[in-house]
């Protein structure tokens, strides 16, 4: 075996996304092919996918994907869920055993809806009711991690290279209009199942290439509002910030991008008066949610996707369009492998959000 210094690991996480604006549903094969081109950017310590539109038969129910480290954790979680939700369906998530993926937890899927009288008594909307329940599971039930909990979507993640994770979860058997993928090269924390990307809350998912220097400041800020960062990875905090800003503060995703990747004051100072006022307001009002350090992220949400770089563009990000399909990736090659001749291919600027939505949906 080669020792440290004798081998060069040419790495940096990889992200990739495919979005069908016409709502056309495609299998997971294309996204697997795309992320596999960037094999060398990850090191086998994490891979994952988020898919939207995959559970049309259960689209009105929250789909929970949960990792359990023990049967006891499963029993406790199911008792917890049973008290608060109607469980419409539950099953193990089907997997394909492969020697390249090992030490899998118990992986279960539930389709649930809040018990009507409890929901009414709580005076919460069903999103808030469900998100509080999942945060509580992650925070208080030992060995249980809710991996995703949105409607008509799901997260499939593991420790391994992303193409192997795709085989493990049989993602070629799912059809979605929106897919994101991540290949991980963990820098500060160990590679573990729940710490792989995507991270999610309700229907919001994030895959991230980079490292957040402001993690602890952001974590302390967001934990003031009922969130709890349990997954030992900086990306988790981006997910909660975006959930807080969109769902609780009512900001648009473009405004969110101007908070987390806020332009420099010198850049703001050359804008026109109105824009100056607007951008200054966002920077001042939500200053604790400014994310510093290098990042490129893909944010999946119901009916759309956002790609965003840090304001200095310290990580790579390429976008492309072909007909009704939009592609994002860390490297152009990962787009060319699935779409050889895009109509348009470009690199979004630092801090410039690219937001795509389904043609029939209004912008969010």
């Amino acid at each position: 075996m080669k020792k440290e210094g004798e081998v060069r690991i040419s790495s940096g996480c990889a992200i990739s996304g495919i979005f069908c604006r016409d709502g056309r549903r495609i299998t997971g094969e294309a996204i697997k092919k795309s992320i596999a081109v960037m094999h060398n950017r990850s090191n086998g310590l994490g891979g994952g996918f988020a898919a939207y539109g995959i559970y049309p038969q259960y689209k009105d129910y929250f789909a929970l994907h949960i990792f359990y480290e023990s049967q006891a954790a499963r029993e406790e979680t199911e008792r917890f869920l049973d008290k608060r939700f109607d469980i419409i369906n539950l099953s193990k998530i089907p997997v394909r055993q492969t020697p390249r993926i090992s030490d899998a937890p118990l992986i279960w899927r539930y389709f649930i809806t809040p018990l009507p009288h409890l929901l009414q008594d709580s005076q919460l909307d069903e999103d808030e009711y469900t998100s509080r329940a999942t945060i509580r599971i992650n925070d208080s039930i030992t060995g249980a991690y809710v991996v995703s909990c949105g409607k008509d979507m799901g997260v499939f993640k593991a420790v391994g290279y992303p193409e192997d994770v795709a085989d493990f979860y049989r993602i070629e058997e799912y059809e979605g209009y929106s897919w994101t993928a991540h290949g991980r090269y963990p820098t500060n924390t160990p590679g573990w199942w729940a710490g792989s990307h995507p991270f999610s809350l309700l229907d919001l998912t994030v895959v991230h290439n980079g490292e957040i220097s402001s993690y602890d400041a952001n974590r302390r800020a967001v934990e003031m509002y009922g969130y709890s960062c349990n997954l030992l990875t900086d990306t988790e905090v981006i997910t909660y910030i975006l959930d807080y800003l969109t769902r609780k503060q009512g900001l648009s995703l473009k405004e969110c991008s101007e908070v987390i990747a806020a332009p420099f004051w010198t850049t703001i100072s050359i804008k026109d008066e109105e824009e100056k006022k607007r951008l200054s307001y966002l920077r001042k009002m939500f200053s604790s949610f400014l994310i510093t350090g290098p990042f490129s992220i893909l944010v999946g949400f119901r009916g759309g996707m956002m790609a965003l770089n840090d304001r200095l563009k310290l990580r790579s990000l390429v976008a492309a369009e072909k007909g009704n399909t939009v592609y994002f990736s860390s490297e152009e090659a990962a787009i060319r492998v699935i779409e050889e001749n895009p109509d348009r291919i470009w690199a979004p600027r630092g801090g410039e959000a690219v937001i795509v939505t389904l043609d029939k949906e209004a912008g969010r």
Binding site: T266, K313, E331, A333, R336
Partner: protein
Amino acid sequence: MRKNWKFLESDMQENEMKEFDIRKDGHKEIMVTDCLGERYIGCGMKDGILHIKGTPGNALASYLDGGTVYVDGNAQDAAADTMNAGLLAIKGSAGDALAYGMRGGRVYVLGDAGYRAGVHMKAYEDKKSILVIGGRAGSFLGEYLAGGIIIVLGLGCEGKSITGYFCGNGMYAGTIYLRTDKVPLNLSDKLIRRNVSNEEKDSILSPIISDYASVFSISAEDCLKGSFIAIEADRSKSYSQLYAAV
């Protein structure tokens, strides 16, 4: 992930596929087709000609030490990193961090360049780094520039800004030429901006641009049309602060 790498003789017989060590066997002209993200192509090459089709991966022609690399598409990040001599010509666009720390030779891009093109390029005695970008460049163009020449032509971008933010921040030698009459956005007041005279255009820009245009078979006259501005470090302020533009 290894695709069909076709190392071809100078007569470019597409059907013949062989495997051999290109560094030892002294082949003068080689074509690599169907590239898809493979890194380090042409890295440290000293002579010969390399034609590349497809999308080569990161660190293309890094440490290039002679010879020529032609790319028939776009290049990804970190092309020509620490390049020392030779020519890298990209018919499409380049990704971020193009020609980082370049020490000599020529990098020609017909399309755009991403962020951080020509950061900390250098020149020393007969070694002079030259970077020419046909389209527009992203932010931090020529940051910490230490020598050499960067030219941005902005072809097809008439009337638009052809650089991003923080152009030339922290530079202390070398020159950035921009084919525009617009000052880059928030240009540091520690940098000097001057209009380029016709004499300077003839003596410095014209030979470089003529060479650039002949590589891509485009009109040198079109590339030289209009006015150029030059950005340089303010020598009266050099070393007063390490990062001149903060």
